[in-house]
């Protein structure tokens, strides 16, 4: 949406937004008068088709207008880009029915899928960023100023897919506050609306992904018990099944069909699918030849075609229930999310599987974005419901490849995030100075069957006999579900903070280059943007520091308050005076304040812990003060080795 008149009102307070970046459609929402509300475009539509068209004069079209060009220029129009997020150039997804051409990566390039569009290689991250940028502009039209954004991802997205989504947000010029799992977002939209407590399943069948999540709602805490699904299963597969049938009925072989015919068949298939949510059969004109004149798909035939897809969702549901230690009958409700749950056979299947009629009172196309808006509002500190908390989990086990290609699981699936776990390994050979670590994600026992996330080598281990070295590898997963890995050799203390090179991702340099390229196109002024970002961050930290000085003033040590106040006023001064390329200076003062408050922050955290436990102590009388003392020791700031 270049060329759009940028209206920038510096006085309008930035508002946090929630974005559902969907396979088929995307939308943006925000909290307006305490209710999450979807942003409508000038035609009154909330849903933006997730379609990006690259024109022959370099113009980029997003949404409905792009979708209209899909049939005419199938190769230049990217539909369902979400399916390609975080995937390697050699991923099987590139082999499936679709009209695209892909660029062969050179050995020096990161191993990611690239669409070949008019001799240009375009990554899915860039395509997704176009969609996000359009949504951002849409929100700016309504809100004037957009603050941070919460972007939803399927719960089942692996690390590479999550990282790709975050990169796309960054590329679109958004401050990504959080990646939020779609089912959790949906539960948030329902839970706050209905003030319900109980156990729920969220059955989310979108355009390209299927997720099942079992969670407990307990007085504002949304605890995810288990999650499962398939990041390549959705409404698109129904379209594909119908498209195959259409080719079959017209006596054509889809394998040799032109990209244009494939696109036509897929679009027609989608229309058939929509038609079958109300009618018993749909008749369409044969788009390929005059004989037969028309093609008929009955509901019974459609139901039979999608039966294998539904069975795959059923298997995932059973496993998620088992992981949560629950039976279907113990659930208080089943929430439907995703456009594909409009298909009647899906609703019937879910009702049978869980033995109860599913809930669908919030529009299944909007519920995820509405929940994301609620979370964005909470994170921005604008909401009133501050006792709301989401406790999410890791969807797929994280591990390391050990001898014979086996996987050593370090963080099992369904571990609550944020999470940390360590494992210790040793060297196999005398005087081995390097140790290769291969990080994988998945449930299979062989590393080759899991998703490869990263390779790195811990170097500089001092020579010693085999089996003597003790290499401790630490996995940390943050609240976005993103992994970082750290390794160190314990006997000598040789340490390496590892920058994990993602196997299927873009490195920081590539992203930075893409950002610069976008700016070359006259989008924004990077200096002004960096300064604005630094200023926002500074103001946020100034606010929270003042508040904590007030609340926990009794924890301050002599002279500490003065040190903090000095750093604070210095930061306030630079923040108000900063201009031009001062972003770095603001950043340095933020670091100064950070250093001044570090010990105070540690003490505040220990108090929060003691209070949380003390609150429970009143109920559990058997816990004595002894444990609180043990706790102090356990939570005391540890000296780094």
């Amino acid at each position: 949406m270049t060329g759009l008149l940028e209206i920038f009102d510096p006085k309008a307070p930035p508002r946090a937004i929630g974005i559902d970046l969907g396979t088929t459609n995307s939308l943006v929402a925000y909290v307006k008068n305490e209710r999450p509300t979807a942003v409508l475009d000038c035609n009154g539509h909330a849903l933006l088709p997730s379609v990006v068209h690259y024109g022959d004069r370099g113009e980029v079209v997003v949404g409905e207008n792009a979708a209209l060009r899909a049939a005419e220029s199938p190769r230049e129009t990217i539909v369902s880009v979400k399916r390609f997020m975080g995937r390697g150039a050699d991923d099987p997804e590139t082999e499936r029915l679709g009209p695209y051409a892909f660029a062969k990566p050179s050995s020096s390039e990161p191993n990611v899928v690239r669409f070949l569009v008019r001799d240009r290689a375009i990554t899915p991250v860039e395509v997704s960023a176009e969609i996000l940028r359009t949504l951002k502009h849409l929100a700016e039209d309504e809100l004037r100023s957009v603050g941070g954004a919460v972007i939803t991802v399927p719960a089942y997205f692996d690390d590479a897919q999550r990282q790709a989504t975050k990169d796309a947000g960054r590329l679109a010029g958004l401050e990504v506050l959080r990646l939020l799992n779609e089912p959790t977002a949906a539960a948030l939209a329902y839970g706050l609306d209905k003030k319900q407590n109980g156990k729920f399943a969220v059955y989310d069948l979108g355009g390209g992904t299927f997720d099942i999540t079992i969670l407990v709602l307990d007085n504002g805490v949304f605890q995810v018990c288990s999650t499962g699904g398939d990041s390549a299963l959705g409404g698109d597969d129904m379209d594909r099944a119908i498209a195959h049938e259409l080719f079959e009925l017209s006596g054509r072989n889809w394998k040799v069909a032109s990209p244009r015919d494939v696109r036509i068949a897929l679009d027609l298939a989608r229309a058939v699918k929509h038609g079958l949510t109300s009618g018993d059969e749909v008749e369409v004109e044969n788009p390929f030849s005059t004989e037969p004149k028309s093609l008929v798909i009955t509901r019974a035939r459609f139901d039979a075609l999608i039966e294998p897809l539904l069975a795959r969702t059923g298997a995932a549901c059973r496993r998620a229930l088992k992981d949560a230690g629950l039976k279907a009958t113990e659930l208080d409700g089943v929430i439907l999310v995703g456009g594909a749950t409009r298909v009647l056979a899906v609703r019937a299947y879910v009702a049978k599987l869980f033995g109860k009629e599913p809930l669908a009172d919030i529009d299944p196309d909007e519920v995820v974005a509405l929940g994301a808006a609620v979370q964005a509002d909470l994170l921005a500190g604008e909401g009133t419901a501050n006792d709301v908390l989401l406790l999410d989990v890791i969807p797929l086990s994280l591990g390391i490849e050990v001898g014979c290609g086996l996987v050593d699981r370090i963080l099992p699936r369904n571990t609550t995030t944020p999470a940390v776990a360590r494992a210790t390994y040793t060297t196999q050979q005398d005087n081995q100075t390097g140790f290769e670590i291969h990080v994988v994600q998945g449930e299979r026992e062989l590393a080759a069957d899991c998703r490869s996330l990263a390779h790195f080598t811990l170097r500089g281990i001092p020579p010693m006999p085999a089996g003597m070295a003790r290499l401790e590898v630490t996995f940390r997963v943050d609240a976005d579900g993103l992994l970082s890995v750290h390794a160190h050799e314990q006997t000598t203390g040789h340490e390496q903070s590892v920058s994990v090179k993602p196997s299927y991702g873009l490195d920081d340099d590539t992203i930075e280059q893409m950002l610069l390229d976008a700016i070359d196109h006259g989008e924004e002024d990077i200096m002004a943007r960096r300064l604005a970002e630094a200023r926002t961050l500074a103001q946020r930290i100034i606010g929270s520091t003042k508040k904590s000085l007030e609340v926990d003033s009794d924890l301050l040590e002599p002279g500490e308050k003065e040190r903090i106040l000095t750093a604070l006023s210095a930061l306030e001064k630079i923040t108000s005076e900063a201009k031009g390329d001062d972003a770095r200076r603001v950043q340095l003062h933020i670091e100064d304040l950070d250093a001044a408050t570090k010990d105070f922050a540690g003490r505040r955290m220990n108090r929060a812990i003691a209070r949380a436990i003390a609150g429970q102590k009143l109920e559990a009388v058997e816990h004595t003060v002894e444990h609180a003392k043990g706790l102090e020791a356990a939570h005391a700031p540890r000296r780094s080795t």
């Binding site: 307990d218 500190g381 922050a601 955290m605 429970q616």
Partner: protein
């Protein structure tokens, strides 16, 4: 990290998990990164680290095998497949036979037999947990910070047995799941 101290639990095997679940939730509520979205970098980092540690402690304490391993660890006894004493040959023979029975039942698709085997091992696992409860109570009685090593070593083989039972029960549920899907 002592997971019992982190989660505010006494050092014993039989714990009131539902009460501890509430404690964990309260700790998670107090420390979750969402509560520190506006805080300084160091405060966010400390909160993230502590929240992860609290989750890790809860993961250990709630699981019988990991909980037992942690209690042995406090007593200075290294655990893990290679460090624990070998199970008796009578025990191994017995497990081997039951395993063959399970494989046969699976082949015959005799789900009644499969379930019966599962229940049998659930009962044995429960008995093993009971033994661990008593063993740890004895070892830690009156000496929470330095448990009796001898008492711990006596009960150590039960941990290996419990691992066998858990694996067997997991296999049973995998077979039931497989049967339900097909």
């Amino acid at each position: 990290m002592d997971p019992f101290a982190v989660i505010g639990a006494p050092r014993r095997f039989d714990l009131d998990l539902s009460a501890l679940e509430k404690t964990h939730r309260e700790l998670a509520r107090a420390l979750h990164p969402d509560k520190f979205a506006h805080a300084s970098t160091s405060e966010r980092r400390i909160a993230l680290e502590k929240a992860a540690t609290v989750n890790e402690a809860w993961r250990i304490v709630r699981d019988p095998i990991r909980r037992a391993e942690a209690l042995f660890g406090i007593g200075g006894i290294a655990v893990g497949h290679t460090r624990e004493p070998q199970a008796s040959s009578a025990f191994l023979m017995d497990v081997l036979e039951q395993r063959e029975a399970l494989a046969q039942a699976r082949k015959d698709r005799d789900m009644v037999k499969v379930r019966a085997l599962g229940e049998h091992f659930e009962a044995r696992a429960k008995a093993a947990e009971e033994k661990l409860t008593q063993g740890f109570a004895l070892a830690f009685a009156g000496r929470e910070s330095a448990p009796d090593r001898g008492a711990l070593e006596t009960v150590l083989p039960v941990l290996g047995e419990l691992r066998f039972y858990r694996r067997f029960i997991d296999e049973v549920s995998a077979i039931i799941e497989e049967e339900e899907v097909s």
